[in-house]
């Protein structure tokens, strides 16, 4: 809706399409940070309103956990945000994108605040913690 209604948005965001927030693997978000993403935003249907019945409930648990674990990886939790925007809430979506972009701009480029090897270490920890064994 935001696009159809031509609501102007900052151009820093790139969208990866998924069927459901339930498909979002927290590891994918860490991967994005490791590859240099300055911020990651996950958006899905409102809880209780999931197109796939309960997918966003699973997502909410996983993403909330990730949010809390980010500092352990040396990532400012402010760089990650998950939210719920329905297909008809175009103006809300435009607002979410603008707010998030502003927040990330204020935080600056990722990696500036932590030494590079801390990230590599975090990567190792992430892979080990989340699956119980090292997958990398």
């Amino acid at each position: 809706m935001a696009g159809t209604a031509r609501m102007k948005q900052p151009g820093d965001l790139r969208v990866i399409r998924l069927p459901c927030t339930g498909r979002v693997n927290p590891l994918l978000i860490l991967k994005a940070f490791m590859e240099g993403a300055d911020g990651v935003l996950v958006s899905g249907c409102h809880p209780g309103d999931c197109h796939y019945n309960v997918g966003n409930y699973h997502a909410r648990r996983r993403l909330e956990l990730l949010q809390r674990m980010l500092p352990a990886f040396g990532i400012d939790p402010g760089r990650f945000h998950y939210t719920w925007v329905s297909a008809s809430e175009g103006s809300r979506w435009a607002g979410v994108v603008s707010d998030f972009t502003r927040r990330i701009e204020a935080l600056g480029k990722i990696g500036a605040e932590v030494p590079a090897n801390a990230l590599a270490k975090a990567e190792q920890t992430a892979m080990t913690d989340a699956t119980g064994k090292t997958t990398s």
Binding site: A2, G3, T4, R6, M7, K8, Q9, G11, R14, V15, I16, R17, L18, P19, C20, G22, R23, V24, N25, P26, L28, K31, A32, E35, G36, A37, G48, D49, C50, H51, Y52, N53, V54, G55, H58, R62, S86, A87, S88, A94, T131, G132, T135
Partner: protein, 652 residues
């Protein structure tokens, strides 16, 4: 690997903001991209032919189309590559219109983003494998929710095509709001004369099962195969035995609000809502019944000649299978009382809504068609109509136009003159919106032939004075303050979604807007479909509309349903989960999280128990994909490999 990239200009929709040539150049510099071109309108016939030509001449095996939202044209382009001989899923769409050209103004910024998105698409399609749909049988039965004119029309059209229909209505009779109208604009046809034959036809149709006093409780399943729990509410009347003689209503001592008459007049605790009700069966409202409130009465049981009264009746849940669902739950009028304290907020009896006035005008109404104002039963001479109450009014949070108010006010002004020849109608309006066929002429007639005085402006205040009401407003055309001594004030209240619309939407998994009107899948291309397959919309539940539009939309929904169910089976999306059973450890975490029960245990030849996905049940949400500890269950089309490749490509 031979990849082709097609960049749509979409006329100037994309090309004005994205430099498509640069996107093409960037594509050509990518590994394995053998062909890239920009096309003015890729979805047009020559556009699609260009894609097919390129695939065939250059032997492309994978295609990326950078154009509009996949919601718009993903199926179009899947068919295109299919016609060229490729597997339909070897095509990836990236959205450089809604996600790029339409939301950015800076050309460099938009072009950079379009290139990124295109590269992401290439990375993704590179890891795509051919997918094949399976088919599932469909249930050739249809559920229509809501028994107003929209539901009746849809049910009749579908039933005429030979499909069994269940028409569920929560009230005791079908007919909806239209049954409450006296006349319809712009022809002044008697509303019930048009509607009641259709109501009877629906009740008698061999393919229609009528379920009144019933509501949808829960919906499971998916397109072609819904399981719906329907609550049959207890009415304390055995519908099989009741003859509709109305003796119970006559003798019942319990007073109850008259909902059919919009609160004008009173009804009884046990009643038939109106004489033409279909089915003509009484229903008891426990909340107003003396027996249920005070524990003593049972007059109706004593007087009923058919022995139809059963106080022990309880709600029942019936579960039925349906292949498609038409939602036609209609609207109700915006409750103006809290938002308009300056109009008395409901304190002045002679300020009524247009629907209440409609009942006063109606021959089947509480006064038999003799207009009497509520306060003292006097025949009103000066009638003031105020348009746009709870519509086109940002100050009360209702900026939407009700689309029919201008018309029904003109109608009621005409009817007022017909009922009371020495009366004078005044109409306060913002604009006269009369867009339909014959509508403009109709509003002119109200002024020219029936003497209604139209005043362009809003009413600021209504206050009582000497038993009458003083209406203070502005005539913005003459820039004068106007005060009218009114006997009766009629408010043209706007449309609101039916009570419980949001709740029903959640049960059906369909989306709705800020007013709780249900959202269509696309306003122009898919106006009666919802975002959930197999669920269709008809009438004012989708937004304010008049009767002709409602009926047209109901027939459109019916056509969609008939088309859907004319096939014996449906193709399912092949984007479902799949298990690498050799590596599955049999922990069944996937089965625990699956919302659809689509995962079963199967035994391999070596005796190991592993997970297996039942394709026809899987809806492709991917929750299992994330839950699997050894990551061996994977959602086709959205594999870990694809998502990681997309992420890395964007961040390269």
């Amino acid at each position: 690997m031979r990849i082709g990239v097609f960049v749509c200009e979409c006329g100037t929709n994309i090309a004005a903001t994205v430099s498509t040539g640069k996107v093409v150049d960037a594509a050509l510099s990518m590994r394995d991209v053998l062909h890239a071109e920009s096309i003015q309108y890729t979805c047009s016939d020559p556009g699609q032919r260009a894609v097919i030509d390129a695939i065939q001449k250059k032997g492309l095996t994978r295609v990326v189309i950078a154009s509009c939202s996949p919601r718009m044209h993903e199926n179009t382009f899947r068919r295109t590559v299919g016609r060229a001989g490729l597997n339909a899923y070897m095509m990836e769409m990236v959205n450089i219109r809604e996600h790029c050209s339409w939301i950015h103004s800076d050309i460099d910024e938009a072009t950079d983003k379009a290139i990124d998105l295109m590269q992401k698409g290439v990375a993704r399609v590179r890891r795509q494998v051919p997918l094949h749909s399976t088919t599932v049988p469909v249930t050739k039965r249809v559920l229509v929710v809501g028994g107003g004119v929209a539901g009746i029309q849809a049910a009749l059209d579908i039933a005429d095509a030979g499909l069994p229909v269940t028409l569920v209505e929560r009230g005791p009779s079908i007919g909806g709001n239209m049954a409450r109208l006296d006349k319809t604009f712009p022809t002044l046809d008697c509303s019930s004369c048009i509607l009641t034959p259709r109501m009877v036809e629906a009740a008698q149709h061999e393919n229609i099962e009528l379920m009144v006093s019933s509501e949808v409780e829960q919906v499971r399943g998916y397109i072609g195969n819904f399981d719906v729990d329907i609550r049959r509410k207890a009415t304390c009347v055995d519908a099989e035995k009741c003859t509709g003689c109305m003796i119970c209503q006559e003798k019942c001592p319990g007073k109850a609000p008259d909902e059919f008459n919009a609160g004008v007049g009173q009804s009884k605790a046990i009643s038939i809502p109106f004489p033409q009700a279909v089915p003509l069966v009484a229903a008891l409202r426990k909340e107003h019944c003396r027996l249920f409130i005070k524990g003593k009465c049972s007059v109706c049981k004593k007087v009923c000649p058919a022995d139809a009264i059963d106080y022990e009746q309880e709600d029942r849940i019936e579960t039925e299978k349906f292949g498609a669902i038409v939602v036609a739950t209609g609207y109700e009028l915006f409750d103006w009382r809290e938002s308009y304290p300056d109009y008395g907020g409901g304190q002045y009896p002679d300020v009524v809504t247009a629907l209440q006035y409609e009942r006063m005008l109606s021959a089947s109404g509480p006064n038999g068609g003799h207009v009497q104002r509520p306060s003292d039963g006097k025949e009103p001479k000066n009638v003031v109509f105020i348009s746009c109450v709870g519509s086109r009014d940002e100050s009360v949070g209702r900026p939407l136009c009700c689309s029919v108010g201008c018309m029904y006010i003109a109608k009621q002004a005409i009817l007022t003159k017909e009922h009371i020849p020495d009366s004078q109608s005044y109409v306060f309006y913002i604009d006269i919106r009369a867009g339909g066929k014959g509508y403009e002429e109709f509003t002119r007639r109200a002024q020219r032939d029936f003497g209604a005085i139209y005043l362009r402006g809003r009413v600021g205040k209504i206050y009582p004075s000497n038993g009458n009401l003083v209406v203070m407003g502005t005539d913005t055309l003459s820039a004068e303050q106007v005060e009218i001594d009114a006997d009766l004030v009629v408010l043209a209240t706007g449309f609101a979604a039916a009570e419980g619309a949001g709740e029903l939407a959640r049960k059906l998994n369909i989306s709705y807007d800020q007013y709780e009107f249900f959202s269509e899948s696309h306003p122009k291309l898919r106006p009666v479909e919802t975002t959930t397959g197999g669920v269709f919309l008809a009438g004012a539940c989708q937004g304010p509309k008049d009767i002709p539009d409602t009926v047209a939309q109901a027939s459109a929904s019916a056509a969609k349903v008939i088309g859907l169910l004319s096939r014996g089976e449906l193709e399912t999306s092949p984007m479902v989960a799949a298990v690498n059973q050799m590596r599955c450890t049999g922990c069944f975490k996937c089965r625990d999280v699956c919302p659809y029960g689509a995962i079963e245990a199967v035994e391999l030849r070596d005796g190991r128990e592993v997970a297996n996905v039942i394709d026809s049940l899987c809806q492709g949400c991917g929750v299992c994909n994330v839950a699997c500890p050894p990551a061996v269950i994977s959602l086709k089309g959205y594999t870990d490999g694809q998502l990681i490749a997309e992420t890395m490509e964007l961040l390269r």
